[in-house]
Amino acid sequence: MRLAARFNRFLRLARPDASGQAKIGGRRIYILPTAQGLGYGLLLLIMLTGSINYASNLGFLLTFMLAGLGLVAIIHTWRNLLAIELSAGRADPVFAGQHACFQLLLHNHRPAARPGVRIALRAGSSAVEDLPPAATSRVRLCLPTDRRGECLLPRLTLSTRYPLGLLRAWAYVELNGSCLVYPQPGPSMPVADAADYDHSRQGDKGVGADDFAGLRPYRPGDAPRHVNWKALAREQGLQTKLFGGDRSERRWLDWSALNGDTETRLSRLCRGVLDACDRQLEFGLRLPGLKIEPARGQNHRHLCLAALARFGRPG
């Protein structure tokens, strides 16, 4: 591991500037012949030997033309990468075990096209694009994930073999991209098992406003709206109507209510969040050091899942 780190320091990397764009400068581009390029060299050698032996001046002419072609290809392949700018786009959050897909933007400011540009992640996912002139291309690269948390965009390799495939020019790029990986949701729980759910301890005190839940004697201070006037008209005395419903369906997802190690607990909490969202329930999240008030909706879902993802991870 340390060896890799020390090696990395020697690599010339294209790093993003203050605006998050990494530019491929000339000194960052490596270039070497490909296997086909080496075969080409061998071919030229054989042609040269034949031309010498048969004293064929036209043979020399063609051999040297091809030699020149191979040399000229060097600068064309090299230039195909020069001055490309890259930036990281969005990466939608995923669950652990799924693929984290990063959107990458390749900016080609040149008035000419750059065909055959390949961008790859170390994990083996890559894409080849023909970059049109003076335009930005979007590429999607995905990585498998197995842990929750921030999945940082690893080092990218930008490479090309255009135009003749005899040489490969490449450059390493680091971008500030990250994908949030939520914990893997635990197994789905039957509805009746409410052990994961923490009902409100106070129960339903009729202080809600939705469904009619019952009557009680009038207490001074009760809202006149809630007084059962019809009962009074029937000489049944002053009574207040009681309402509930919202309070009774509120859930708290609580860390302390679960057993198991950290990951298991997070996993089950995650399942809880998902289930609650499925049923459009209002829910809150209670974690050591963090409390999210009950609410509903997509944003709230993301907030909770993000909290679960980032739990215990610094930064």
Binding site: A18, I75, P163, L164
Partner: protein, 658 residues
């Protein structure tokens, strides 16, 4: 999703590959054994059919069998598997088999590389300029294939890969030229595999019969070209190029006979030798035609006693050699052997020939005078110079002298020689070429087959061997000008009309065009096809680089090539450099400098906001920052965009040191 080299080829891509591979191979099919061509065409045909009927594609076993079959086919036709033809046959069979199993993009590399190799082998067989053009087209096509497969998707503009391939090849041209002219040349091959030369070659041979030289006169083919040093080219009347010397006759034809023993006759006197160099096209014999009389001769050649210059080997390829000649000379005494042979008479001398000669001898007082009498005879009698004299089978010379009096140079030369022998004057027939056309554009002499000539030499006591050309007596224009084969009338007895120099504008233009083409052709031959070690030394001398020899030449070549490559790179990079608007570049520089001092521009900050922020933290920069930003905004977004303001902005930014 398969990426890059593993992508399978589309039908159109495959067809294009077949087209260019076949194009590269096609000229070979003309001269290889038919079995090889059949194999190639059959395999390609199978593949093309398989595009429609995929079931026809052979599996691995069948492919293996076909490979063995192909190899056996080659061995059957070229059992030794050595040499040029066998190698080419093998290459072509390999190419066919590779095309058969073409599936993925990466297979194309092999096809293209084989195609390049096959193109090179074309030049082992023929070297015409037309072939070079054809090969260039195939080269562009094959290279375009490589461009195509290194793209991610097929190019929208169909011709784009071809134009790029052409551009790359043109950029490679300077490197090619440097390498070509500087690469060391070897005198002999690294190992000898024998260069077979096929095809008939015309030219002077070592026997003449009436009509043999006139046959050559129909051909405009170039026999050889000559370079003289500045202003030393002799006049036409002295341009006699010596070939075979014929001593023996049977009355009808003249032959060289037994080789004369001994070294060349000693010269008693000779004018200053004039040096020249000859580029000789392949000829059936081994004569190196030399200007009368040869003095200095090239290495690997032999000068006989009768001044015939011959090469040690057959002239099967274009050959260059240098020699020198003395235009005026005097040979010494005649050896007994030579005298005997020079007086040999055939059996068919007629009475009237003897009487003619006796008549001359009576009137003349010396042998030189007899010669003059003979020439007068040709002049005064109605003799005509024609390519198609009437048939005279029985006794050609006799009939020519008295009856037909129509003949070509060989008739005059042989008859004259016979008469001289009759008069007791030793004489011999010399054949070769006379004259030649000067190409003013290139300043060299072109000698064609139509300049083939025969003349006579007589030995006189005071002068030694002296050239006498009876043709000059009858048709002096022939000596002064060249024969134009196109002007010859084809019917019996018609006299020859000699070339009219530039009688009208069109002919003059055609003549100049011809010269121009020949100059190009000659330059092509000299500088490219015939580029040799000698020519290379000459070139290096011209360029002042003659200190480069041996190992130093190789090093020099590498150095100069490297320099050319770098220069080329610089030019390419410069011409297609990414140009940023200098105003934007200046502004970016301004932001960069501030960023170094800790006040970098945020991506979302506009110039005005940024300027405000900068001034807040560094009030002392206020004036400068304000003027820069105001100017920038005015140029980019306002109405202040003019060259003067732009320069001002760049100056301000250049002087800006926060």
């Amino acid at each position: 999703m398969k990426v890059g080299a593993k992508i399978e080829l589309s039908a159109r891509e495959q067809l294009t590959v077949f087209l260019f591979a076949a194009m590269a191979t096609a000229p070979h099919l003309l001269h290889l054994a038919p079995g090889i061509s059949t194999f190639f065409i059959a395999i390609i045909g199978l593949r093309l059919l398989a595009l429609h009927f995929p079931g026809l594609l052979p599996g691995r076993l069948l492919l293996f069998l076909l490979t063995i079959g192909g190899l056996a086919n080659v061995l059957a036709h070229y059992p030794l598997l050595l040499g040029r033809d066998a190698g080419v046959a093998l290459l072509i069979s390999m190419q066919a088999l590779k095309l058969l199993e073409l599936r993925r993009r990466r297979d194309i590399y092999v096809v293209v590389f084989l195609g390049y190799f096959i193109l090179v082998t074309q030049f082992l067989f023929r070297q015409e300029m037309l072939l070079v053009g054809y090969v260039s087209v195939a080269l562009v096509g094959l290279t375009a294939m490589l461009v195509q497969i290194n793209r991610a998707t097929v190019s929208e503009r169909r011709l784009a890969p071809y134009t790029l391939a052409l551009a790359l090849l043109l950029q490679a041209l300077p490197i090619m030229l440097v390498l070509f002219f500087l690469f060391p040349r070897f005198e002999s091959p690294l190992w000898d595999l024998g260069l077979e030369q096929k095809g008939a070659v015309t030219g002077i041979s070592d026997r003449i019969t009436p009509g043999s030289i006139s046959r050559l006169s129909r051909s405009r083919a170039i026999a050889f070209r000559v370079d003289f040093e500045r202003d030393t080219m002799p006049p036409p009347a002295l341009r006699y190029w010596r070939g075979p010397v014929l001593w023996d006759t049977d009355g009808k034809s003249w032959v060289q006979g037994k080789k004369l023993p001994g070294p060349p006759d000693r010269l008693l006197a000779a004018s200053n030798p004039i040096p020249y160099s000859v580029t000789l096209e392949p000829t059936p014999g081994s004569w190196l035609f030399a200007l009368d009389i040869p003095r200095q001769t090239p290495p690997n050649s032999r000068l006989s006693a009768d001044f015939q210059l011959t090469s040690a080997q057959r002239i099967s390829r274009r050959t260059r050699y240098q020699a020198s000649a003395s235009l005026n000379y005097r040979t010494g005494p005649l050896s007994v052997n030579q005298r005997q042979r020079a007086l040999q008479l055939p059996d068919n001398i007629t009475v009237r020939m003897r009487r003619l000669v006796q008549d001359w001898q009576q009137r003349a007082d010396s042998q030189a005078a007899v010669v003059e009498q003979a020439l007068q005879y040709f002049r005064r009698q109605p003799f005509y110079y024609t390519l198609y004299p009437p048939l005279a089978e029985t006794n050609p010379s006799d009939q020519f002298l008295f009856d037909t009096r129509r003949g070509f140079c060989e008739h005059y030369a042989t008859s004259f020689t016979l008469l001289m022998r009759l008069a007791g004057i030793p004489s011999r027939v010399v054949t070769g070429y006379q004259g030649g056309e000067r190409n003013p554009l290139g300043d060299y002499l072109i000698v064609r087959q139509s300049d083939a000539h025969a003349w006579s030499e007589v030995w006189l006591p005071e002068q030694g061997w002296k050239r006498v050309d009876p043709t000059a007596a009858v048709a002096p224009q022939r000596i002064q000008q060249s024969l134009d084969p196109d002007l010859i009338d084809d019917f019996t007895g018609a006299p020859i009309v000699f070339r009219n120099t530039d009688s009208d504008l069109l002919r003059s233009f055609a003549h100049h065009l011809n010269w121009g083409l020949d100059t190009i052709n000659a330059s092509w031959h000299r500088w490219i096809l015939g580029y040799s070690k000698q020519r290379q030394s000459r070139l290096l001398q011209l360029l002042g680089l003659d200190f480069l020899n041996g190992n130093r030449l190789a090093l020099g070549m590498v150095a100069i090539t490297g320099f050319t490559v770098l220069l080329l790179f610089a030019i390419i990079a410069y011409r297609s450099r990414d140009r940023i608007d200098p105003t934007i570049a200046a502004y970016r520089q301004f932001c960069r400098r501030l960023a170094h001092r800790g006040i970098g521009r945020q991506p979302h900050e506009g110039p005005r906001d940024y300027a405000r922020r900068v001034i807040l933290s560094r009030p002392e920069l206020g004036l400068k920052v304000e003027s820069i930003v105001r100017l920038y905004i005015g140029i980019r977004y306002g109405r202040m965009d003019n060259p003067e303001n732009r320069r001002r902005l760049q100056r301000l930014v250049a002087d800006f040191r926060p």
